[in-house]
Symmetry: C2
Subunit: 145 residues, 2 copies
DNA sequence: TCAATAAAATACTTTTTTATCTTTTATTAT
DNA sequence: ATAATAAAAGATAAAAAAGTATTTTATTGA
């Protein structure tokens, strides 16, 4: 098992890619994004449509249309993307799958998981969609392969 | 998305349950385990057969048969259970799903995920199947609901 | 207005995960 | 030996996730 669903992995890679490709007000098409992050195009289209509907990214139809990010979207934490796609069970669900697990009715690993969930949440909250724009321009980070 | 698959959640809950129910040399049947951890019985049977085949737990057929744990199984780290069921991608896979992600070809979140994976691994390595036997006897921990 | 462009929406297929059901094998006690 | 017990094995089924294809809507520029 991976931490995120495939949908979420593609979604995060896509928002990073869109961020660094549309830094100066332009837009980018689904084909180029899918190619840039090595994902199946029609599947990614659905993911981005969903993120667009939820206001996480922006889009525009027609010629010279495409996906882009406005200023406030660039500053969104990655946790918003994850929550939009995978929900918030990663941040507050029980590690052993118990619905009623809580401080007063804990599973054996309750406290251990609380720490881990918090560190995942903190990491995603402290990283914005635009965080890596500079580094992506220099090519030191990979979003495909 | 949860951290573990359903299969793995049931597996971990089951080994904890078997550990505390068979502390004094006896065995426990699949029905009682499924009931004790609130899991679908035939599905759990599959999981336990697999764990038994892999030597993570022990079993015995026939009257008074059932599942149990020998001394060395009780001292196994939980990471062995997780690895047997979900594989080791949780411990060494890329958070963004990139096959070739590594120190020399990192994804943007490579270092952040390394820390998180390490803390998950450490937690599972430091916890053995028998770790909670005493606490489970007192009923302070829940394995169902 | 019309053709071209590109995302949105919808419907569908495949694969994987989760779950169930049936038959077989091993063991015990009578 | 035989009947009862309980896990092992195998075959199927249902649900969810991943992926594809087709049609519709919005926008632009000629």
């Amino acid at each position: 098992m991976a931490i995120f669903s495939k949908t979420c992995e593609y979604g995060i890679r896509a928002v990073f890619f869109i961020a660094h490709k549309t830094a100066k007000g332009n837009r980018i098409g689904i084909k180029e994004i899918a190619d840039g992050i090595d994902s199946p195009e029609p599947f990614l289209a659905k993911i981005l449509q969903d993120l667009s509907r939820k206001g996480i990214i922006q889009s525009f139809k027609g010629p010279h249309g495409g996906f882009y990010l406005d200023e406030s979207s660039l500053n969104r934490p990655l946790s918003d993307v994850v929550e939009a796609v995978d929900g918030n069970s990663l941040f507050n669900g029980c590690g052993l799958g118990l619905k009623a697990c809580s401080e007063i009715n804990p599973c054996p690993l309750h406290n251990q998981f609380k720490e881990i969930r918090n560190s995942i949440y903190k990491m995603l909250k402290d990283t914005t969609i635009g965080t890596f724009n500079d580094e992506l321009l220099t090519g030191i980070f990979s979003l495909k392969k």
